[in-house]
């Protein structure tokens, strides 16, 4: 019997989300973020999301659009531009609730969720402001002779995870082709349901023709749906398919500093569907080149 395809449209994926959900977003900073899905959330009527992310423009955009009421993060950055301006404004204006962890704690929280454990012990966080600023965090004492008191990092259990991969098949086997998998497999396993957007859906026979076996970090048991979104990580990196669109990211970061400029930017790039976005980006570059 042939397994049914898990291929969905962008709108199908967003249609499966609900307001109030805890939503994990893969990638790292301004690297291989599922931006096409994030843009679709911006167009939706979803609200009150708790976003869990190694934050980049994904979180900045969701905060600015009033979609995220809570964010768990270790940092927020655009990488080549150190600070994420929309995230910074939301923090400074206090427009959402924020939980800031050490980036290793963040990985450990995802791993605990992936392994269905209530917590995992870790040294990171001890002595820092993290424990003070997230009063829900507790410590745990080793039952062995060392008696060390460590941070009990709680599971970062997610309702839904969204990740973007270079290639996938229709069943949800997915691979990265760049130098770093980031934490996308952990995001998928920490979630009740995970959706993979990808540059290209191909036959599984093609996945290992030109890429090593160990690039297949996500298998179909971890995935509820797959959506093909070419250039879907834009303007973040999707190495080696494409690198970050630095010109566009700079325009984003500049526009984000001023409410009027941001309104114009949003109108130009974020008011239509994904095809309209990609067309507007193309026009932006043609303008810049002429």
């Amino acid at each position: 019997m042939k397994a049914p395809s898990k291929e969905l449209s962008i709108d199908d994926v967003v249609g499966r989300l609900e307001s109030g959900m805890t939503l994990g977003i893969g990638g790292w900073g301004s690297r291989r973020k599922p931006m096409a899905l994030v843009r679709a959330i911006l167009r939706s009527d979803l609200t009150d999301l708790h976003v869990v992310s190694y934050a980049g423009p994904d979180v900045g955009l969701l905060l600015a659009a009033g979609k995220a009421s809570k964010v768990t993060y270790a940092f927020a950055t655009l990488d080549s531009i150190p600070l994420e301006p929309l995230f910074g404004r939301a923090r400074q204006d206090g427009t959402a609730e924020f939980r800031e962890w050490d980036e290793g704690m963040f990985q450990t929280g995802l791993r605990a969720a992936a392994q269905r454990l209530p917590f995992l012990p870790m040294r990171a966080g001890l002595g820092s402001a993290v424990l003070e600023n997230d009063p829900a965090l507790r410590t745990v004492t080793s039952p062995y002779d060392d008696g060390e008191e460590l941070v009990a990092v709680p599971a970062l259990t997610l309702d839904v995870a969204l990740v973007h991969m270079n290639r996938a098949d229709t069943q949800g086997n997915a691979q990265y082709l760049g130098p770093d998998p980031y934490f996308d497999d952990l995001f998928c396993m920490a979630a009740r349901e995970a959706y993979v957007s990808t540059e290209q859906i191909i036959d599984p026979a093609g996945l290992t023709v030109d890429a090593p076996l160990q690039s297949l970090i996500i298998n179909r048991t971890m995935v509820a749906g797959v959506v093909e979104t070419p250039n879907g990580a834009h303007f973040t990196t999707c190495t080696p398919t494409y690198e970050r669109d630095e010109t566009f990211q700079k325009a984003y970061a500049t526009a984000a500093k001023d409410p009027d400029d941001w309104a114009a930017f949003s109108e130009r790039f974020l008011s239509g569907d994904e095809d309209a976005y990609q067309a507007a980006v193309k026009a932006f570059h043609e303008e810049a080149a002429s």
Binding site: G88, Q92, W101, L126, S128, D180
Partner: protein, 253 residues
Amino acid sequence: MTDVTRSEYCAVAIADCFADDGEIMGSPMGLLPTLGARLAKNTSNPLLMLTDGEARILKGTPPLGQSADVVEGWMPFRLVLEAVVPYGKRHVMMGATQIDRHGNQNISAIGPWEKPTRQLLGVRGAPGNTVNNRTSYWVPKHSERVVVEQVDIVSGVGRARAEAAGKAATRFHDVHRLVTNLGVFDFNGPDHTIRLLSVHPGVSVDDVRAASGCEIHVDGDVPDTRTPTDEELLLIRELLDPKGLREREVPSD
């Protein structure tokens, strides 16, 4: 060679931080730390392991701004977080928007945590770094707004706070050096407070005190930061930073 610039004194002072580390991973964050770590690898500590700042361990030491090199290993973020930081064979040199008298560092935000006046990066890996592996800091513009009595949000943990958190926090805690554009410091003053180890030539102890927002401990006469050797100057100027990017971060007066 003549006319050693301030940035070149900074580069060798940073290189000296890594000199006795042996075969560990150096994680320099930012421009001068990268220059200093690459300099150390070419001189005092050839065993130092360095990456391109992303996922590749580099065999050699390409010039600043470049990462093309022979790759000798893989170091994605997940391995940094789970197999290097807690493993402990690492020396990170981070920046600091604020660093205080007790060696606490802040890169998270300025102002109250609930509603900061200026959001910065977040704590990043600073809490884990400081309780797991040797940590140093680099401050390119020493001022009373940066070197302070007490940081707003403790990202990197100083000794007193580590001790208050218990033995699990002190077991591997090792805040090693602070290098600024004015001098070199450690945190071995009374009660693990900031202590001035050397001033860069042209800087006085009074200059350092005037530029600091907290008391700076001094043991007797403070020496000048050592002069780079001819070999080090050649490496800095010809191999590691031929474009002089270091002068942009620490301009010569």
